[in-house]
Every structure is written in structure tokens, then in C-alpha cells.
Amino acid sequence: MMDTNLQKDDLTGIIKFIPPLYKQRYQFIKDLVIKYKPKKVADLGCADCTLLWMLKFCKCIEELAGLDIRENVMKEKMHRLSPLPADYLQPSERSLTVTLHHGSVAHKDPCMLGFDLVTCIELIEHLEAAELEKFPEVVFGFMAPAMVVISTPNSEFNPLLPGVTLFRHSDHKFEWDRAQFQSWAVAAATRYDYTVEFTGLGTPPPGTEDVGFCTQIGVFVRKYPKNGEIVNSEKHTEHAYKTVFKAVHPSLKDEKYLQNAVVSEVLFGADIIKRRLLGNFKSECKEHSDGLETKLKFQPFKYFMRCSKNLSLAETEKLDADRSMEPFIDGNTVYIPLAKIFSIPKVNQLCGTFEKLSKLIAGKVALSNDGSAVIVTIEYENEEQEN
């Protein structure tokens, strides 16, 4: 839980949370994700998808889903969940699929099964009585994720908020105090085999601690770990939600992107080696010249490293001694042994093993007759004329 800075403006008595409470709620979820590393996360009542956008950056998540009853609110900002051009240029290592559904939490849909974390931030107070009644069965009974987080306003804090007469928001159907929320939560937890712990965000100013947090939160954890199959007494195959948006982010788990990235790095590295051999590079081993550049701390790390973390010390020593790792020129072709290519840090990192490298570049990169080296032809430059 974050340290909350509470400011009470002495002149007007207005309470202001820094950072704003909604941000603190999203951060709370993000902290949970960082701690427990769920793979599949769903946000019920995702509205403008801000929480989903924040969670998009958590590398452990492979599937993100959002559900909301208001389609146009989701559609307005859903483009934020699409991959960025940079994601195609440098695909991440894990795969990520983001889906948005239009539907109600009172209905069951198999697309919400198998999740590790389901969040309902400031959701339940917007539900009509009939929907609220169905909520525990749908979320705890049917969806049955490993963890559920529910946050809702604590009505005991309301007297401290100026301008709040009945409810904090005109769309709220109810606002519970701590006793009401906790009794509802414990009942649901007991019924569906969950444990529940209570906490909150937004501490009250000194002297009024007895009102409790501004936002109360219940964190539910399922008691019995699910075995592989989805055991459901009613085989529910009907789809009640409509998929409004789906984006599959490019990832290196997709062989196509991995191959693309590896081939690009191999060709780029081969081109650099070729240019070095042809003497277009200034020697990298030049020492600093008379202290002129000592101020400059920036020193890009060497492009080729001799030790790779994927090679054992013995293997590295062998490579050092192995002269056949050195590139050479024959006629107008440069031959670069695959072992040398494999020692390029980025290539090494992407492929992991030598076999993987060979497999990925097969057919995409020009190789020597015996397949042991990458070949690059030397072209003549043909510059345009000045006038």
C-alpha cells in the first residue's frame, strides 16, 4: 500500500489526496500484479481502459480482458490498447492479447474463465439490486479466478468530503459502510471457498481516524487451487458478451517475429563486420586522447563481446583459440563464420542456442556452400556527381 499524502487545506477544509485516489487504486492493483505475477487479468467495469493500459506494461501478463456495460466509453479509448509502431520494431519477449467485451457482470460467458486475477474497482456501487444479487455467483462461482479485488466507497468517510450529500456520484445505487461491505464480502467468500482480507486507500486526517479509509478494498483469494480442467456443473457454452476489440501484440514468441528480429540483427552485424574489415571504421582500441574526453562518461559498450553469458568459460576459451572464428575476405565476398555471428550480444540473446540460430536463418540469410559462414558481397560505390 502506498504512502498517501493527505493535504487538508486549512482555509477551506477541502481534503485532497496526493496522488489522486483513483491513481492510488490503479497503483494498488499494479503492485499486486508485480507481487503475484498473474498471467491472465480481467478488469470488470473497465470504462475508459486506463487500468488496462497501465497493466499492459506488466511483463508477466499474457492476457488482458476488459468488460463494461457501456460500449461507447470503451470504444473511445480502446486504441490505447493497440500495439504501437515501436512494438513492431522491437517486439517484446512475451505475447500479449488484449480483448474488450461489451456485457454485464450479471451474465456468464466462458470467455472469462481461467483468469488469475479479476478486478472490480469502484464497480459494485453502480449495480442495480438485481445485478448485485447475481454478482457473487457469476464472479466467485462461475469465473472463479485465483484472486479477486473489489473496491468501493466507504460511506463513513463521506462526512469529511465537502459537497457530498447522499452519494459521491449520481450513478451510485448505494454506498456501504465498513460493516455492510465486510459482511457481504465474508458471506460471498464463505459461500464460494475464498478467504478475504480488508484494507483501503485514503487515510483520514489526524483526529478522525475512526471513520476508516476513504476507499475500502477487499482482496479475495481462492482456497483450493484449481486442477487443470474447468469443473463446472453446468457446461456453459453460451456467449453473452460481444467482443468489441481484440489486439494481439507482436511478440518474439511468435516464430515469425523472432525470425525477423534475428535475421535483421544478423544482417546488420554482418554488415558492420564487413565494413570493419574493409577498414572504414576507426580502430576501437584507441585510448582516450590526452584527457580531452575524460568528462564524457558516455561510452557505448563494445559491439562484440568475447564472453557471452550463454557460453561457459571453457567454451569461450575454445572460441578464443579457435582461429576459424575470424572472418576473412575471398575475392569480392566476405565470409563470417557462424560462431562469430553467434557471439554478437543481441543475436546471442535472441537465439539462446547455436542450433536455434542456424534454424532461424536457414533460407533467409546467404550462407557459404558448407553452411558454416554468412557471406556478404562487396559492392562498389557509385556516387552521384556534384555540379
Binding site: 499524502n5 504501437l84 576507426k282 576501437e284 580531452l292 574526453e293 557505448p300 559498450f301 557509385n382 556527381q385
Partner: protein, 634 residues
């Protein structure tokens, strides 16, 4: 597909050019318009160029390539002014400065007042781990949108997380980069056709796409087939002979050993070269004399001045030795230093107006190329002296042809350069060239009026009468500016003519020229698709019903698919038949003296373009009017 701007691209099928860290996304530029007979979908293949190089990678490779002593300076020179795209959101920023003293491990204050280091911030917000903890910071000043007096907010960006965008002028002048790029982007007719058919197929096949069309009551039909005409090949007129080129668009070979139409002899001229290029210069001179003879160009021995290597030395020598009688200054430069070139061109265009010719030593060094290089140089010199190389038959008497182009000034970002080139004789072999600088955003009609007055008075001076016909080819019209040209520029130009003298009412036509248009045309030959021959005209089906417009293919495409040029006649009281107008336009594409062959736009537009290019890149001011009747900018 991913939408960028108005076009659509497939990021999942990228074409990589790894040596230059470029990625191409294949895609389409699409528009739907009402054409002559029906509503048609125009689609052309388009490629989005992305740079997969981060600023950090750029700095690293720069570091290994150049002298460490000038790394900071060069880095700043290369990067400041560029736009970068940040990795974690879709925002672009302009690099205004580089802060070498701040590192990612330093802290900055957050909105709530607490301090956090850049490393931690990016880890927390975006789960990004920075690998280089010594990199400097890029600085960008964000101007406040509302209040321009408020201090702009300063943002620090991490080079590792910023991608370069666009092609810098260094990249564009990198010949190999452009060649590799062209190889991937230029499709021959068959390939282009394949991609477009696949798009049409997909629209038909994919249910959602078809349903979307049907909802509007539309259906996608098949590709349109139409009939065009091919204009007969033009004869090229030289001094004593006429030649009909062997291959329609290229007469460089046919022209050898023919005399050019006319030029004054080159008696008094100056040649400057650095001390070590003395021998090269001598070689060049000998070759020039050898090629000059058959051409009919008499070249005397120049005054040769050897100077030191530095750019300042060249400029000083020019200042010292050039007097008003000198006809031409030739400089043999040892390296492609823009500053040297710019300073020479500036002095000889503004302060002491004398035509100049700059040659790179590297060009003269190439084995076996000396004669063809000398031929090209000799032809350029002839033009710079005001000479005439070749002509085509012009069936109309008393015709003045004008070309207009507008470009940006490289140095002063808010400035536009307006080029105006008008023919001054009825053979259309001599030209009056004028260039005016203007603030972008203001319309250029008054510049054009001034230029028009000057052109008419020159015509009158050489021909003792006023031109009976005037045809204006207006290039450089941006999307959305067409209405302004038609409603405002044209009347302004016409008003100049009526105000000149009483009873002067020439027949005027104004044609807007467009080099980039979506439609491409193919011919079927031997069961495969090929480029149509030069001289092909299309004025049905693919043109607009309410306009007087046509497409003309006046370019030889050696690789890829040829780009037709689009002409829109926006004003015409000449009474010329469209067929004649089209043929006249085709003739105009033969008269660009810097290229013995057909070019894509009418010659006066290309001259205007070259003039604005020189002024916008190197001179940045209006050249002296003393040079107006020489093609000094070729």
C-alpha cells in the same frame, strides 16, 4: 492493417533493410472519387518507412565512426532538430538540445514533489530496464498551446527509448541507402498489379469488408481497362541536323558529334583547384577541349589558380580573382563540403554575379568516365553562359511558356522559395529565371505578378512585341491549395496582363501540374503487364468529368512502375484543342537541358524546381537579376 495518416499498412509483414536499420511496412494509399463515368476506388501501393534505430544506437555507431574529439559537436549537429518517437507511447518530440551532464541514474521531481530517478521511473511505469546508465539526455521544449508567453516545459528523454523518424538529409544523400530502399519499394508492373489484385480480392473475400460496402449499397467491381493514345516521337533539332532518337525518351547517344544550336565562345574564365588536384584539373581541361570541338563550343585556356585545401581559401581566391569580365568560374573541390559549396555559390550569385561550375575531384578520378563526365560538364557550362543546346518543333508562333515551383528554404524554416521561369524566344530555347523568397503561409500571387511583369518585358526586349499566347505550368500546389490557385492566383496573373497596355489580350492557359498521383497505368503485352510507352496520354475514364484534365507519361522508367504526371487545366481561353494542348505539353518535357532525354514535368517547371533547390539549400536569398537570362543554377 494499421492506419497511419490517410493510408493503411501491414506491420505484420514488414520488409527489413537491416544494413540501414530501416523497416518498411507495405500498404496502400486509397481514395474513392467520382470519375468520368463512374465512382472508382483508386488504390496504389505505398510503403511506410520506419527507422528501427534508437537514438542510443545512432550515437553508438557515430561514436565508432568518427573522431572522438568532435563526437559531442557532431552528435549535436546531427540530432538537434530531428523528431523522435518514444517507445512506450505514440508521442513525437523534437530534439532541441542534448544534456551531457544528466544521466539516467539522476533524479527528477514528480508531480507530487518526490524525487525519482529516470531508471526507476521507467521501470515502474513501463517495466522497461535501461541498459546503458551513462547515456546523456535528450532535451525537448514543449511549447504551451494556449499561452505563448509561458515558459515552455522542458522534457528529458532517454536516447535508448527514442526512435529516429523520417529520413534526414544525410540519409537521403546516402546513395546506398536510397538505392537499397528503392530496390524494396520500386515494384515493376507485374508485382504492383499482384499486390493491388490481392487487396481487391481481400475486400471481396473478407466478410466484414464486403458487408461494410453492401451497407452503403456498394459493390467492388473489377479493375478498369481503358484506352489511351500515344503521341508520336518528337524530332530533336540541333544546329545543322535533326535527329529522331533511336529510343523515344533518350537522345544522349544520338546527340554525340552533333553541333549544339549556339553558344558564345568561352574566352575569359577562371579555374580554381587545390594544390594536390592540379593534374586532375589539367586532365579535365584537355577533355573539355576535346569534347567542345565537335559540339561547336570553343573553349580557350582559362586562368588557373591553385589554392590551399580549406573552404575559406577557395572563397578568398574567388573574391580576389573574379572581375565583371569573367564569364565563368570553375572550382574543382576535393570533398563534398556543403559549407564550401554554399559560400562559393552565394558569393557568385549575390555579390558578384558570375555563373559557376563546381566539380568534385572524386568524380574526375573515376577510371574511364572522364569523357562522359566532360561532356556533361561542357553542356552545363554552355547553359550557364546562356547558350542553347537543342530544340523541338513548336507549331505555335509568339508563344511564351512559364513554369512555377515552390519549395521550402532549408535554413529558414518559415520561408518559402518561389521559382518562376519563362521562355524568352519563340523557339523556346532561352529562358528568364527569377526566384523570390516569401514567408510560408502568405499567398504568392504578388511575387508571381512581379515575375510576370519582368518576363513580359524581357520577351518584349528580345522579340519587339508582346507574346500572343501564354501557357503557365504551375507546380508546387499542395493538396487543398487548388481552389486558392484557381480563385485567386489566376485572376491576379491575368490582371497583370490587362494592366500592361491597352488592347493587349493574349490567349492564356494555366495548367496545374502534379507529379504524385495515385493512378498507375499498365499495358498488356505478351501476356504480362508492362509500363506504357512514353508519350501515352489518358484523358478518359480515369479523369474527372467536370475538369479539363489529362495524364501524360513522359518518363522512361528503367525500374519499377512508371509514374504518370497529372495535368489539370484550370484556366483556358486559348481555343486550343485538347489534343494540341497535350502534345504541346509533351514537347515541353523535351527541353530540360540538364538531361538529354525526357523528363517527368514540363521543362520550365523543372528549371524552376532546380532554381528553388539551389536557393533553398545554399543561397537563401534572391539571386542577382544580372544572372536572370542564364541557367546559372543547373
Amino acid at each position: 492493417m494499421y492506419q497511419v495518416g490517410r493510408n493503411f499498412y501491414s506491420p505484420s509483414d514488414p520488409v527489413e533493410i537491416p544494413q540501414h536499420k530501416l523497416t518498411l511496412w507495405p500498404g496502400f494509399a486509397v481514395s474513392i472519387t467520382q470519375f468520368e463515368n463512374r465512382v472508382m476506388l483508386s488504390a496504389d501501393v505505398s510503403h511506410k518507412v520506419l527507422r528501427s534505430e534508437t537514438v542510443l544506437e545512432f550515437m553508438t555507431s557515430l561514436y565508432t565512426r568518427i573522431d572522438r574529439a568532435c563526437f559531442i559537436q557532431t552528435c549535436e549537429k546531427e540530432l538537434v532538430g530531428l523528431i523522435v518517437l518514444t517507445r512506450y507511447n505514440n508521442k513525437t518530440y523534437r530534439i532541441d538540445d542534448i544534456d551531457w551532464c544528466v544521466k539516467p541514474t539522476d533524479t527528477f521531481p514528480k508531480r507530487d514533489g518526490t524525487e525519482i530517478s529516470y531508471v526507476d521511473y521507467y521501470k515502474q511505469q513501463y517495466d522497461i530496464v535501461l541498459t546503458d546508465l551513462n547515456q546523456p539526455m535528450l532535451v525537448s521544449r514543449l511549447k504551451s498551446k494556449q499561452n505563448s508567453t509561458v515558459e515552455p516545459r522542458v522534457v528529458h528523454l532517454i536516447p535508448e527509448l527514442c526512435y529516429l523518424t523520417g529520413l534526414t538529409s544525410r540519409a537521403i544523400s546516402d546513395f546506398r541507402l536510397m538505392k537499397d530502399l528503392a530496390q524494396e519499394m520500386h515494384l515493376n508492373p507485374e508485382q504492383r498489379q499482384q499486390r493491388l489484385s490481392r487487396l481487391a480480392d481481400n475486400i471481396q473475400r473478407i466478410k466484414e469488408a464486403r458487408l461494410e460496402l453492401e451497407m452503403w449499397g456498394l459493390q467492388l467491381g473489377c479493375q478498369v481497362s481503358l484506352t489511351g493514345r500515344v503521341v508520336p516521337t518528337e524530332k530533336i533539332l540541333m544546329q545543322e541536323q535533326t535527329c529522331l532518337p533511336m529510343s523515344a525518351g533518350d537522345w544522349s547517344k544520338d546527340m554525340r558529334n552533333m553541333k549544339i544550336i549556339g553558344v558564345q565562345p568561352l574566352d575569359n574564365w577562371l579555374m580554381l583547384c587545390s594544390n594536390r588536384n592540379g593534374e586532375l584539373a589539367e586532365n579535365l581541361l584537355n577533355c573539355l577541349k576535346r569534347v567542345g570541338g565537335p559540339m561547336g563550343f570553343h573553349i580557350e585556356y582559362p586562368r588557373i589558380v591553385q589554392v590551399q585545401e580549406s573552404p575559406m581559401a577557395f572563397l578568398r581566391a574567388v573574391q580576389q580573382h573574379v572581375n565583371p569580365e569573367v564569364q565563368l568560374v570553375m572550382c574543382v573541390l576535393s570533398s563534398n563540403q556543403k559549407d564550401c559549396y554554399d559560400s562559393i555559390k552565394k558569393f557568385l550569385s549575390l555579390d558578384r554575379p558570375v555563373p559557376s561550375q563546381c566539380v568534385l575531384a572524386r568524380t574526375l578520378n573515376k577510371q574511364g568516365m572522364m569523357m562522359s563526365v566532360a561532356t556533361k560538364i561542357a553542356m552545363q557550362i554552355i547553359c550557364k553562359l546562356g547558350g542553347e543546346l537543342w530544340a523541338v518543333e513548336i507549331p505555335l508562333k509568339s508563344l511564351m511558356v512559364i513554369g512555377i515551383d515552390v519549395n521550402k528554404d532549408d535554413l529558414n524554416k518559415g520561408s518559402s522559395v518561389v521559382g518562376f521561369v519563362a521562355s524568352t524566344n519563340s523557339k523556346i530555347t532561352r529562358w528568364f529565371s527569377r526566384c523570390i523568397l516569401r514567408n510560408s503561409g502568405t499567398d504568392i500571387a504578388d511575387c508571381l505578378k512581379v515575375c510576370m511583369k519582368g518576363a513580359i518585358s524581357k520577351w518584349h526586349k528580345y522579340n519587339c512585341e508582346l507574346p500572343a499566347r501564354i501557357i503557365v505550368y504551375r507546380d508546387g500546389v499542395a493538396d487543398g491549395q487548388l481552389k486558392m490557385v484557381v480563385d485567386y492566383e489566376v485572376p491576379q496573373l491575368l490582371s497583370v496582363l490587362t494592366e500592361l497596355t491597352t488592347n493587349y489580350s493574349p490567349k492564356v492557359s494555366v495548367i496545374v501540374v502534379r507529379k504524385k498521383c495515385i493512378p498507375r497505368f499498365f499495358t498488356e503485352a505478351n501476356r504480362s503487364l508492362q509500363n506504357p510507352p512514353v508519350g501515352t496520354i489518358v484523358d478518359t475514364e480515369a479523369t474527372r468529368p467536370e475538369w479539363y484534365d489529362f495524364y501524360l507519361i513522359s518518363q522512361l522508367a528503367r525500374q519499377g512502375t512508371v509514374n504518370p504526371t497529372y495535368y489539370n487545366v484550370v484556366y483556358d481561353n486559348s481555343g486550343l484543342k485538347p489534343d494540341h494542348m497535350q502534345r504541346l505539353t509533351y514537347k515541353m518535357c523535351h527541353l530540360y537541358y540538364n538531361w538529354p532525354g525526357l523528363i517527368r514535368v514540363p521543362a520550365p517547371c523543372q528549371y524552376a524546381h532546380k532554381l528553388t533547390f539551389l536557393v533553398g539549400q545554399s543561397i537563401h536569398r534572391e539571386p542577382s537579376l544580372e544572372l536572370a537570362d542564364k541557367l546559372f543554377y543547373l
